[in-house]
Symmetry: C2
Subunit: 366 residues, 2 copies
């Protein structure tokens, strides 16, 4: 048979097909070897002579062959897919409102790029952690995708139903921002140390009345941060004044309420550590509207280094969480060591305290 476009077209036409991607079969024919040998080359298997490897690779190159993910998943045990799960309501609400949280972006950054390095792909899905449908939603995603591993972001990593389901199905998973013991790889930053770092920064500036706005209890890291705050306060000899702790839930609204309560205190705090960017922004808003200047009258430290806290006026001193790094680490563990969960304690990645304009020495007291 003759070469070139004409032949190709006629074959395609004969089969009534449109120009399709090359398959492993085409490569095998082109290289004059069996399917199996091509498969071995693709998967870097042993027992192939270098000369043949070369030949096969040339054929792959020539035909622009790429293995079909679907076929590989069908035949083999691996799907080359990682599933990243975020909380549906919170994520969608964030997108809708344009609240400037870049959690998802940072996750994609770390996760997608790491996956790409290993020939994997990351599929991003939303699952409602509250609803009684968690199980159904997760089962559905797992059934459709058959991922080789799952990346759980807060608060999914602390959700017992999800952890149980994944464990039961023997699907390796990583919990981001979930440092506690349990199944799956735990990957987190040291939330307690971060809260302490925020407190210490303020103490170093001379603050003594340092308040704290918590996050939602649903997130295990909320407790860790609170403990870090309390320990740091104690260590600085600043006692345990529970009126300085306000209960928030990461939302702007809860930040407003918390800040209002704190600033109405008889012995008003000179600084607030808020465990989330929306709550920090809310605290700034309350401070401004009540006539307090930030940072002159009140210092604020944010626990999320999101774009908006950098561009607000003043810009915020903030904890930078290593979100992309944690996600990348999760992907890496899942892809390489994905077989066995290790209960050997969490993987702790470093955070940063980035000092900007929202913190300053406290005002002189009368």
């Amino acid at each position: 048979m003759n070469d070139g476009a004409t032949a190709k077209v006629s074959v395609d036409e004969k089969r009534g097909k449109r120009p399709k991607s090359a398959t492993i079969k085409d490569v095998a024919a082109e290289a004059g070897v069996s399917l199996q040998t091509v498969s071995r080359v693709i998967n870097k298997g042993p027992n192939v002579r270098p000369a043949i490897v070369e030949r096969v690779n040339a054929a792959i190159e020539k035909l622009g062959y790429v293995p079909s993910l679907a076929a590989r998943r069908m035949a083999g045990k691996r799907s080359y897919l990682l599933l990243a799960l975020n909380d549906r309501d919170r994520t969608i609400e964030g997108w809708r409102s344009g609240d400037g949280t870049d959690w998802v972006d940072q996750m994609l950054l770390g996760g997608m790029l790491e996956c790409a390095k290993h020939g994997y792909r990351m599929i991003f899905e939303l699952v409602d952690t509250h609803s009684s449908n968690v199980e159904r939603e997760l089962t559905s995603a797992l059934g459709a995708i058959h991922p080789d591993g799952v990346i759980l972001t807060p608060p999914h990593g602390d959700n017992p139903i999800i952890r149980h389901l994944l464990t039961e199905k023997h699907i390796p998973f990583a919990r981001i921002g979930s440092a506690g013991p349990g199944p799956g790889f735990a990957i987190a930053m040291d939330d307690a140390a971060a809260a302490a770092a925020a407190v210490n920064h303020l103490v170093a500036l001379g603050h003594r009345r340092i308040a704290y706005i918590t996050g939602s209890d649903e997130y295990a890291l909320s407790a860790a941060r609170l403990k870090g705050y309390r320990d740091a306060m104690a260590k600085a000899g600043l006692g345990a004044d529970d009126s300085l702790v306000a209960r928030g839930d990461f939302t702007y609204q809860s930040g407003i309420e918390s800040a209002q309560r704190l600033l109405a205190l008889a012995d008003r705090p000179t600084a607030i550590v808020a465990s989330g960017d929306q709550m920090s922004l809310a605290a700034l808003e309350v401070a401004n509207s009540e006539g307090f200047s930030v940072p002159d009258d009140l210092s604020i430290v944010s626990f999320d280094n999101t774009p908006i806290v950098k561009f607000s006026a003043p810009s915020f001193t903030a904890i930078r969480q290593p979100i992309s790094e944690m996600t990348a680490r999760a992907a890496q563990l899942l892809i390489n060591g994905g077989k066995t969960d290790r209960e050997s304690g969490p993987d702790i990645l470093p955070f940063d305290l980035i000092v900007r304009g929202s913190t300053a020495p406290p005002p002189q007291r009368a």
Copy 2:
């Protein structure tokens, strides 16, 4: 055979399998029908008696069955996958710097949710539009995923190599923010009208010296916006002073340079329309550092309504692009009408002009 957990476990053990997801076979057995009937029910095919449908659905429900995407793609012509392509460098750079652009988020919002409605999934990938590898990268993604459709975001929608490759492979695609003629569904907002709206808003405030900072020429929408600006200026009888048009490329740096040049003009503009959030921010920065107050001395309109332009001080009057709406529309067209490209002109979605604190009447001239 007896029911319950014991039986299930023993079967699993006999086969040496871990508890797997149910397959269509299991459902068929459970419902006492053939595979094909189950398949018909799943795909809402005709020719199944309601009673049987009921029975099959009950079995599906009971077993928690979910069809495997991979298997469906293998056997059928559809993969139930849409591929969304973003520009690699720009996207990663945005994520790394935390520049607060939420393009990707808005895309996910519109695209994922629309896909979910139809039982589809959206896979998000990065492709370098510049590199000579575009073709290789795209081929690779298409070969691995075999999407039923591709969503192109700027500037990919205007990239001839990508358009050609997709056309050649007969893969339906949608071009977001690419209104020009050509293959694929064109979905855009009226960029010219948006630029005109910005100008008109400023004219209504009393401005006459209105400058414009363009975006990169690589984006077809840049030309459309510039035309909109020019036409609106002409219509307002504000002539054609080309010194009022500065060439930017969407980057902060280009915004700095453009704004510096514009503000150094002998006959200084009293307002600037910048076709991107980073350039708007840059203009604000330049204005501030040169002692001009925004909006008292200079009004600025941003062309991206990103989180950071809302939280800056002052917050920006901005064009809101219907990113999530465009992406949702793209997904919808690809899923439903995905077979045929229509050359019947672009699908134009409405934008908004959101007035905030960065625009005000011009200062009184001496």
